[in-house]
Symmetry: C2
């Protein structure tokens, strides 16, 4: 029989939440995207597992940065009936392993929270990099955990005067609006998504939709859209014509967005055959590749990359060990 | 902030080792293969992560049986330089999740041991199902953890009089022979692999080789070979001509062995285009599909299926909760 090794550190959600304020998440995640786009990361295709009764989906993201000491495996699931039984829809954990010998060093029992945070941070970073110079109204589509977190992280690094909210179920948008108002935000719920689209200079989409929500002819010149919902091949929030009409499309991962994300939908529709999107890490490393003026329509298409999971898990672990 | 949920149960390697004797691993794993071959399991393609300095590989296997309460994610790695720094080459863990809501219920910190055991059990089950009626000499190729475990699990369910061992490094085969002798086995180390191949009615191959070891013209009629080493596309232990010449080839997973395993090598060599292997679960459910007489050459090609990880993890968890 082989001998048991020392147990890895287990880090609870409480501890993770207490450590997050000590981390510059924007800097941490930005560094990860830059390393990824420089080819310094090894990130295989995302693993997916689907469930029917009740409906659920699991994403397994994994990989490493060649110069970093760890490899990560991140499990994040969405079981969308969970709220009806009093559980959050997001679940999951992050595992950090020593990449020189395979030993498990840390189990981050984040229950999906680190995935939620790193997704919101990536959204805010993308918006900061690509938004027009003046954003009066931020529009958020969806009213779930991501809608709230995108607002929280956007307001930490971007200026805007008001938030417009739209959700398929208006009462949920009202609830979110109330939460935002309690935290000092000027907030309006709009009945028709078109109104939000026409009024906002910056729009963040956060739904699991599999049909387009935002139409091309609603969007004003100069708008930036950060789309974070389409993390599987069947999902989409933007009209593919809208994607094709953007002057600049920035994706988190060119390889992932050939298969999933808004870009993949435009590709499948044959609308962007001759184009190639830029990567977020390229824009972050070289800001002059980004928006050129306040008339351009820009889109950030985020599918979630394991390098984000690695960077945030590593930062938590290094703050505790 | 969301509320932290109760922590999942962590099960140490010590506890796992103390629970294993209480489980009928042969029955448990057999049931898993039968369910898998009946189409009752959802098992996506295996995830792989490779490392160069030092060399290492990680396999991520995941899935569920539709009628079972859990889904599993299994991480198993091989870092082959580990023994030189005093660590076992195998590392890893098994995670069990509630498949109705995604909650993590158990972390089995098995450090690769459950993968080693379920692999050995699958080998022994395959050999029991397909070996000729009389096995005088069992041949084992390789001298690592799997070589020892295959012997241990084979002798629990099969009769044989002696064990012949061969390894690329003869001194390691001698060490293994000494270990087996201390446990009462009659054991010989052979210098030339051909001698083992000609003398054994049952041969188990356990190496990470990426070139063929066993040649077609060494193998006697009536031999059964259980090949467990080729778990990645570049690996192989059998001459593809040997695979093509077998009267019966049984694989653990037809879908996985199109891409990896001995069958995939014979496929790529264009030698088995018009044939389809049987699955182990089919043979276990319907034994008359197996060996027809003592003259047939039979091969079991095992790549490792997540249903094995699910069944053994679930059995451990149900013995502890």
């Amino acid at each position: 029989m082989r001998q048991a090794l020392p147990l890895p550190i287990s880090i609870s959600l409480d501890t993770i939440q207490s450590l997050l304020p000590k981390i510059d998440v924007f800097e941490t995640i930005s560094k990860g995207f830059i390393a990824y786009s420089k080819g310094e990361a090894v990130i295989p295709p995302v693993g997916e597992l689907l469930f029917e009764q009740p409906p659920g989906e699991v994403h397994i993201k994994y990989g490493y940065i060649k110069t970093a000491p760890y490899y990560v495996i991140k499990v994040a699931s969405g079981f969308y009936n969970n709220p009806s039984i009093g559980l959050p829809s997001s679940q999951g954990l992050n595992l950090l392993f020593d990449k020189t010998n395979g030993q498990l060093v840390a189990i981050l029992l984040d229950e999906g929270h680190l995935t939620d945070v790193r997704t919101a941070v990536a959204g805010a970073i993308s918006s900061r990099a690509l938004a027009p110079s003046q954003v009066h109204s931020l529009g958020i589509i969806g009213a779930g955990t991501q809608a709230l977190l995108q607002w929280k992280y956007h307001r930490r690094i971007l200026d805007f005067s008001e938030v417009l909210l739209w959700n398929r179920h208006p009462e949920k948008a009202q609830q979110l609006a109330e939460t935002l108002r309690q935290q000092g935000a000027k907030t309006k719920v709009v009945e028709h998504l078109e109104d939000l689209a026409r009024q906002c200079q910056l729009i963040v989409t956060t739904t699991p939709s599999s049909t387009p929500l935002l139409e091309k002819n609603w969007i004003q010149p100069g708008t930036h859209i950060t789309a974070i919902g389409a993390d599987m091949p069947h999902k989409m929030e933007l009209d593919p014509q809208l994607v094709a009409s953007a002057e600049l499309v920035v994706v988190d991962s060119r390889s992932q967005t050939r298969r999933q994300g808004e870009w993949s939908q435009a590709l499948r529709a044959g609308l962007v055959k001759d184009r190639s999107p830029l990567e977020l890490g390229e824009i972050l490393a070289n800001p002059q590749l980004g928006r050129q003026n306040d008339q351009q329509l820009t889109i950030a298409d985020l599918t979630g990359v394991a390098v984000q999971d690695l960077m945030i898990s590593q930062a938590i672990f290094e703050n505790i060990k």
